[in-house]
Symmetry: C2
Subunit: 318 residues, 2 copies
Amino acid sequence: MFLEHEPTKQDIIDAHERIRKQIHHTPILSSTSVNQIAGCKIYFKCENFQKVGAFKFRGASNAILSLGEKVLKDGVATHSSGNHASALALASNMKNVPAYIVMPHTAPQIKKSAVESYGAKIIFCELTLQSREETLAKVVNETSSVFVHPFDNYSVIAGQATCAKEILEELTDLDYIIAPVGGGGLASGSCLSAKYFSNKTRVLGAEPEGADDAFRSLRDNTIYPSVNPKTICDGLLTNLSDKTFNILNKELKEIITVTDEKIIFAMRLIWERMKIIVEPSSAVTLAVVLDNKEIFAGKKICTILTGGNVDLEKYFGM
Amino acid sequence: MFLEHEPTKQDIIDAHERIRKQIHHTPILSSTSVNQIAGCKIYFKCENFQKVGAFKFRGASNAILSLGEKVLKDGVATHSSGNHASALALASNMKNVPAYIVMPHTAPQIKKSAVESYGAKIIFCELTLQSREETLAKVVNETSSVFVHPFDNYSVIAGQATCAKEILEELTDLDYIIAPVGGGGLASGSCLSAKYFSNKTRVLGAEPEGADDAFRSLRDNTIYPSVNPKTICDGLLTNLSDKTFNILNKELKEIITVTDEKIIFAMRLIWERMKIIVEPSSAVTLAVVLDNKEIFAGKKICTILTGGNVDLEKYFGM
């Protein structure tokens, strides 16, 4: 079953063993010219090369592989129109388990196609939170499937933590790991791995100014909802949950926010100089570094490139 | 001085030792979903991650590092508005050697800026072959610099050959290496490395239908000029030279041509599935594989992704 407590060091080691065969051990890249521009040594953990093109496959895999065959036979369910949906769909498919994905009927066709290509069933809902929750509850009730929350789930958090664990196994004297903050699953998992697997490395969160609910939540010690977020970072629109808030509140050094304009600049820099495709939500970390050079001067940093799922129609469309 | 004979096995080994410290040993990537689509096992040698974003840095580096200090003090010169220009500019810069690059005044600003950013001097010419050759001759005469031809130069060919050498050191039982054919420097170097460093692997050339002069030249055993080539592959517009024609004529298995439409499809597939940026000239190899599934079914292939220099204004421009 799912972990019922904040992941321990052993829980994260176990998660890594559990998912190791089915995830990619993604490479860590760097660029001389990006280092020159930034004035520090930046490594990039390329989860855009992860299966389904995003780190979310780690958490979804650990969640599914933590459930017994008996529980799994009725399948899993979630609500998401983003990378968690694809991740849960593929991880289910690899175990021959049904997956039910609730998403708004307005979700882009490219997202629907990705989820369907992994064999999951899509159930459409209205755009409201109420419709999403009611639809999910109905699906879970009718199918007896298990709800896998995108981040408010300790097994998912332990899965996401394996990313920072890999970083710390490869790079031993990092000053900072920087993770984008949406619901906080990756950031809180990274905090736990830094605590357990490093003596020196601190974790920083990066958030778009137009979706700074996590920044405000930690500052004011209360979970704010994400109301009408305005950012290009479509993976960072959700607010924190109880589980992620509590971990970040104890372990995260701080969250730094940055404008969309600077995020787009950083994203273009990654595409141009590193020749890799990252989504806007991934570029918020480099944007924070470039916007705060005095903090990072001479430091050794690893940013997590969380995903590479962008709609390329704009480039290739005729 | 430059090699004056077709590179031997030892010449390629020496070239690799000579340039090893200043080039990137680029990774070889693969994608389960691309393999499924293609029906064979395809590896991608990522020269888009090479310095200056293209394999050309290997040949330019070997050329410059093959020249003595006395010869080098007056610098090097070439005509190119593409990746060879950037490659020669950077390799010269790393040895503190002046570089003179002749390019048409109509060259895109992005190409001019790249060359200038590496400290080279640009000399503009008219669009005609005559103007280009006269301008180059004048520059060489006035500066006493050494002309480094983009491909009709055995030291350049030996440098490009190190790419296939790295492939064959990592992948021992390949059926084919597929290289794009422009002037033929990479393809002929790849042929030599396959001959020297493998018992089994054959080299295939890939060429756009709209610039199929090399295909016709090898078929008819004569070097045709490239007249009004029509293709999106801006790195594959030139014709073969004596040196590259002679090597390809002896060693290349064959050249297969493919339409631009299929090249664009293959390019998009690489961007979407592999999350890496390649230029159109790089995608011609995958396009050939996808267009000839019966030839490649079940085979083990490595295609060379020659470069990643594309103008991203179309994606990021406002």
